[in-house]
C-alpha cells in the first residue's frame, strides 16, 4: 500500500519537474490561464482514458475510440439538423450511441472471441464508415461539416468563471471511475479478469459480462468526449477524432497502467493525461520548428519512461535487500 503511494508521489514529482523545466524555457508557461489550458487539453483524452483504463485492466485494448467519437458527433449533428428534439435529448441519444458502440465492441470481443486489437481495429473502420454514411451533405452531395451553435449546447464547450466545463467533467469522471474501480465488485472483477483470466473464470466471475461492461464504459466515455469536443468546436465533421485513438492509451500507459492487464488505476491515467498535455503545451511554447518539437517530445517521453523503469527496479532491489537483512537478523 505504502509502495503505491510512493509511486504516485514519484509520478506527480515527474509532472512537477516537467513543469519546472518548461517554466524555465518559456515565461508564458507558468501562469493560471496556461495551467487551466493544460487541464482542458488533457480532458478529452483523459475522459476517454478512464474507460480505456478499464479495458486495459482486463488486458484488452480499444482502438475504436476516435471513430466512436465521430459516430456520436455525427449522430448529434443529424438530430440537431433534422429534428426539433431538445438539447438534453440530443446529448442522451449521443451517449446511447456511444454505449451501443461499446456494446458492439464488447460482443465482438467477448462473444466471438476475437483478439481485442484486431476487433477494435475493425470496428474503428466500421464506425468511421457509418459516420460517413450518415454524414451531413450539402445540396451537391458533398460531405460538409455541420455547425452546431445552439447556445444551450455550445455553453458546454465554455467555462464557468475560468474553469472549463470539460475540466470539471474530467475530474468528476476520474473520481467516479476510481470509486467504481476500487469499491465495487465490477472494479475488482476487472482486475481479476486482467490478472488471470482462467483463475477468474474458475472462481465464478462472468468474464464475458465484465469485458462487455468495460467496453461499454469506453463507449460512454468516448460519447462524453465527443459532446465536449463538438460543443467546443461548435461543429462536427466526419473526421472528428481521426488518429486520436492512441492518445488515451498513451495517457493510461504513461500513468502506469500495464498493457498486459491487471495493474494500474484511474488516478494514474489522470496524471498520465496531464503529463502528456503539459508536455505538448511546453514543447509548443518553445516556439521551434514542428520537426524539432516532435523530436524533443519523443526524447522526453523516452527519458521519463526510462527513469520510471529504473526507479522501479531500484525500489525492488531495496525491498529485496531489506528482506535479506531482516532474515539475517532473525
Amino acid at each position: 500500500m505504502k509502495q503505491t503511494t510512493i509511486r504516485r508521489l514519484i509520478s506527480l514529482g515527474m509532472l512537477c519537474a516537467l513543469m519546472v523545466l518548461f517554466s524555465c524555457t518559456s515565461r508564458y508557461y507558468l501562469n493560471a490561464d496556461n495551467l487551466l489550458e493544460i487541464v482542458r487539453d488533457a480532458s478529452v483524452a483523459g475522459i476517454i482514458g478512464v474507460g480505456v483504463t478499464y479495458v486495459i485492466l482486463t488486458s484488452g485494448i480499444d482502438l475504436s475510440t476516435g471513430s466512436c467519437m465521430a459516430l456520436v458527433g455525427m449522430t448529434m449533428a443529424n438530430i440537431y439538423r433534422y429534428t426539433l428534439l431538445p438539447i438534453w435529448m440530443m446529448l442522451l441519444i449521443g451517449m446511447l450511441v456511444g454505449l451501443a458502440a461499446g456494446l458492439f465492441n464488447g460482443l465482438v470481443v467477448a462473444k466471438l472471441h476475437l483478439p481485442e486489437f484486431i476487433a477494435t481495429l475493425a470496428t474503428m473502420g466500421i464506425f468511421r464508415a457509418l459516420t460517413y454514411a450518415i454524414a451531413i451533405r450539402d445540396a451537391g452531395g458533398i460531405i460538409t461539416s455541420q455547425a452546431m451553435t445552439y447556445s444551450s449546447f455550445v455553453k458546454w464547450g465554455g467555462a464557468v468563471g475560468r474553469i472549463h466545463y470539460v475540466s470539471i467533467a474530467f475530474v468528476v469522471i476520474v473520481i467516479l471511475g476510481q470509486i467504481v474501480l476500487k469499491k465495487t465488485r465490477f472494479g475488482t472483477n476487472l482486475y481479476a479478469v486482467g490478472a488471470n483470466r482462467k483463475a477468474a473464470e474458475l472462481s465464478g466471475i462472468n468474464i464475458a459480462r465484465t469485458r462487455i461492461m468495460a467496453y461499454m464504459t469506453v463507449g460512454l466515455c468516448a460519447a462524453v468526449g465527443a459532446i465536449f469536443t463538438t460543443a467546443r468546436l461548435q461543429s462536427t465533421t466526419a473526421l472528428l477524432g481521426n488518429g486520436f485513438e492512441f492518445d488515451p492509451i498513451a495517457a493510461a500507459v504513461v500513468g502506469g497502467v500495464s498493457l498486459s492487464g491487471g495493474y494500474g488505476d484511474v488516478v494514474g491515467t489522470f496524471i498520465g493525461a496531464l503529463f502528456m498535455s503539459a508536455l505538448d503545451n511546453g514543447v509548443l511554447k518553445l516556439q521551434m520548428n514542428t520537426a524539432y518539437q516532435y523530436v524533443i517530445k519523443g526524447v522526453i517521453i523516452i527519458l521519463v519512461v526510462m527513469f520510471d523503469a529504473w526507479y522501479n527496479a531500484w525500489m525492488e532491489k531495496l525491498a529485496q535487500e531489506r528482506g535479506r537483512k531482516e532474515a539475517v537478523k532473525a
Partner: protein, 332 residues
Amino acid sequence: MKKINASGFGKPIILVVFMLVLTILRPSSFLTVGNLSNVLWSISVYGIMVCGTIFVFLIGGIDLSIGSLCGLCAVTIVKIIRYFEYSNTGVLVGILAALSVGILAGMVHGVIITKFRVPAFLITFATQIIFLGLSMILTNNKILSCLQPELFTAIGMKKIFSFPIPIYIMLLIALTSWFILRKTVLGRYVYAVGGNAYASRLSGISDTKITVLAYVFSGFTTALGGIVLASMTQQCMATTGSGYETEVITAAVIGGVSLLGGEGTVSGALFGAILIGLLNNGLNLLSVPSTEHGLVKGIVIIIAVGFDALQHQEKFRSWLNQFKMKRAREAA
C-alpha cells in the same frame, strides 16, 4: 501440433472463398495475371515489413515506429541518391545507409527495452514521433522526387517474368524468416521467449539477446520496405509510410499472430497481408466508394478472424470441461 494444423487449414479456405466471390462478381478483370501481380505488388511493402516485425510480435513486443522508420529510410536513400547526383554509386551507398539506419533504430529499441525493462509500446510510440521529426528535418517538409538512375527505379518497378521485383524480395525475406523461425535454434528461442520469458531465462536462453535481435531484424526489414517504397513511388516526403504500422499489425493479427507473444507463423502473417491486398483490390474493382471501405473491411476482418477464433474457443471449452470432470472425479 494439432492446433497448428487446424489454424493452418482455415486460412486457405477464407482466401479461396474470397477469391471465388470476386471472380464471380468481376469475371473479366479479377482473375488475370496482371491484376493478381498488381495485388501482390501493392502489398509487397507490408509483406516485407511484416516478415521482420513478426519476430517482435513473437517475443511479445510491439513496434509502433515502423511506419515512420520506413519513411525515414526512404528519405535517407532518396537524399543520398540526390547528394551523389543520381549515380549508381549513390544507389548502393543509399541502400547501405538506409539499411544501417533501420538496423541502428532496431538496436536502440532493443537495448532500451531490455536494459531498462520498459514497455515497448511507449518507447516505440516515442521513437515514432522522433523518426517523423527527423524525416521532417531532413526533407525540410518538401516532397523529394528521384526519377533516376535506372538501378534505383528498377528495385520497385522492373518486371522479371511479368512479376515486379518487390514480389521476389518479399518472397525471399519470407523464406528467410520462415527458415530462421522453423529450422534454426534461434527461431525456437524466439518462440520460447515469447511464450514465457521467465521460464526461458531459467533454461539458459538469453532473452536480452533474442529481444535485441528481434528488434534489429524488424528494423532491417522495415528499412528494406522503405527502400522499395521509395523506389516504387520515386519520391519521398516526411509522411511517407505513416500509418503503415497499423496495416502491418493488422496483417499479422489477421494471420493469427498473437500480440501477447509466442504464437504465429510467417505464412499466417503473409496470408493476412494478401487478404488485405485482395480486399483493397476487390473493393476498387467493385467500385465501392472509399468512404465505405472501412465498413466492408471491418466486417470481412471480423468474419475471417472470427472463423479462426472459433477453433480456439472450442479448445478452451474442452479444456474447461476436462478440468471440471477431473475435479468431479476427485470429489467423488
